[in-house]
Symmetry: C2
Subunit: 326 residues, 2 copies
Amino acid sequence: MIADKLTKISKPIENELKQFSLLFRETMKTKVALVNLITSYILKQKGKKIRPTLVLLSAKIAGKVNERSYRGAILVELLHTATLVHDDVVDSSEERRGFPSINAVWKNKVAVLIGDYLLSRGLLLSVDNNDTDFLQVMTRTVKRMSEGELLQISKTRKLNIDEETYFRIISDKTASLLSTCCEIGALSAGDDLKIRNSLKNYGENLGIAFQIKDDILDFNGKNGFLGKPLGGDVKEKKITLPLIYALNKSDKAERKKIIHLIKNGKKKENLKKVVDIVNFSGGIEYAEKVANDYINRAKNELAIFPDSEIKKSLNDLLDFVVNRTK
Amino acid sequence: MIADKLTKISKPIENELKQFSLLFRETMKTKVALVNLITSYILKQKGKKIRPTLVLLSAKIAGKVNERSYRGAILVELLHTATLVHDDVVDSSEERRGFPSINAVWKNKVAVLIGDYLLSRGLLLSVDNNDTDFLQVMTRTVKRMSEGELLQISKTRKLNIDEETYFRIISDKTASLLSTCCEIGALSAGDDLKIRNSLKNYGENLGIAFQIKDDILDFNGKNGFLGKPLGGDVKEKKITLPLIYALNKSDKAERKKIIHLIKNGKKKENLKKVVDIVNFSGGIEYAEKVANDYINRAKNELAIFPDSEIKKSLNDLLDFVVNRTK
């Protein structure tokens, strides 16, 4: 279902995505057998390629997909893969895309190093080809992503997160890379600053809406094959927008009670209570409204482009983000 | 003792090192409180600053220490610190420089992210200042370091390492960064290709000798406050030069016996037997001879420079590397 919709969205760059996959595989190759074994394992898992898709769509709407666009797409996918591998160590996850995670198969040691390898491999591709502009945006993004995650961790320990901090976290840890994908696509196709900024902002707003929707699904998502179990964020003491809304609407006594439930969220019945409170508080509707605001901002950024198949895909991607149910 | 000798070696750049420390502290600052807390913790531990020392000595012998030299020194120290933080996760180490490690205090999750943060912070410093030449050498080095470690891991599992592979591993995982320090120092001071290559090769040979000496100390080092316990590498199934020599000198039956002892190296008496076999085989003397060859190669690289206080320091650093006893 998800795959179907994404295939439709990426139709106008179907051939370019095939070319990307070939080049991506090629770039990963090294002389170290263990590295090749692990990267083959990663390649078998076939991710959704949302980030390369964003690079290529952005390049095409900004002008034309060229060699630099492919290098940009490879760079973002390598960086994204590196962060996924490190994330699984960070969260002690045993699974990724239905396969055992790298840390589960080869232990943390190898997973940390493979992450570092993929990160440096990506940056090296830009260095070797003098894509200085890519390096400028990407290095800043890697820094923002780690800062965002660290800010989230420090806040989950204290349970004192407000809306402003929430938006800073999701902008840094999620939106920054999606924004960078669009910016790199634009940069690869030309030097029009207006186009670059519009696509960059499109990606940023898309990313924020995407993360809010992800956080909403933690409270009302459908438990499917790939769906997250309800209340998973609460269990990890991650306070997201729907819950922040519920907390803000509560009086002092209710707040205290909710905080107590979160602190004891390892018990299933406590988790369920928090999920119910959030659903009852109107926190879902509020967060959906906010996500829609960001979707509209992203749509407005596309106004500078004439109608086209590519523009339709970029708009469809926005609808896809808010309408998914898992 | 070690600190005394290093202080003497770094005397000609005493003021520059002080300036470096101020700038290094400044560069680490961010808006995320948890990151500042952890970087302050790292700064309190006062490492030996061998890598910034190499950058600054190289810059001075190649011309003059300038703003770019300081940025280079900060870049290498940030990268080195990042790899130490990741190494401690990788090895589940509980201690670093007499302090509890980052992963011990803040868990693996935070340690992986802080490593990523420090890595990107370093690269961003170069990106923001258009130090493209630094980026070129440094990104390649980060890639080599992770590949070297991964090659070592894959070899420790199979216990089939030969001399050629050993040198490839230590060149990638250890010598590459020391070589890069010297190269970056040279680059910061001017564009003389002969000077750049001499210093780069000096660092590479220094690094290889340093690692061989480190590996020798695993078999004959003094167990001091900071000394490694004897046989620690063998216990982790790391086959290093003295042991490779002992294995090569053995007949088939002896080899089989040694491999059996290594495989069962968790038992103290087996470890001790391997250490004794290596000492008896002449593997130590052989490895010392090889280390000295690399030291001499490094000395020869300095021949292009006229005698000076700085040149003496670079030579003294070589003597320090081979003469240390822990």
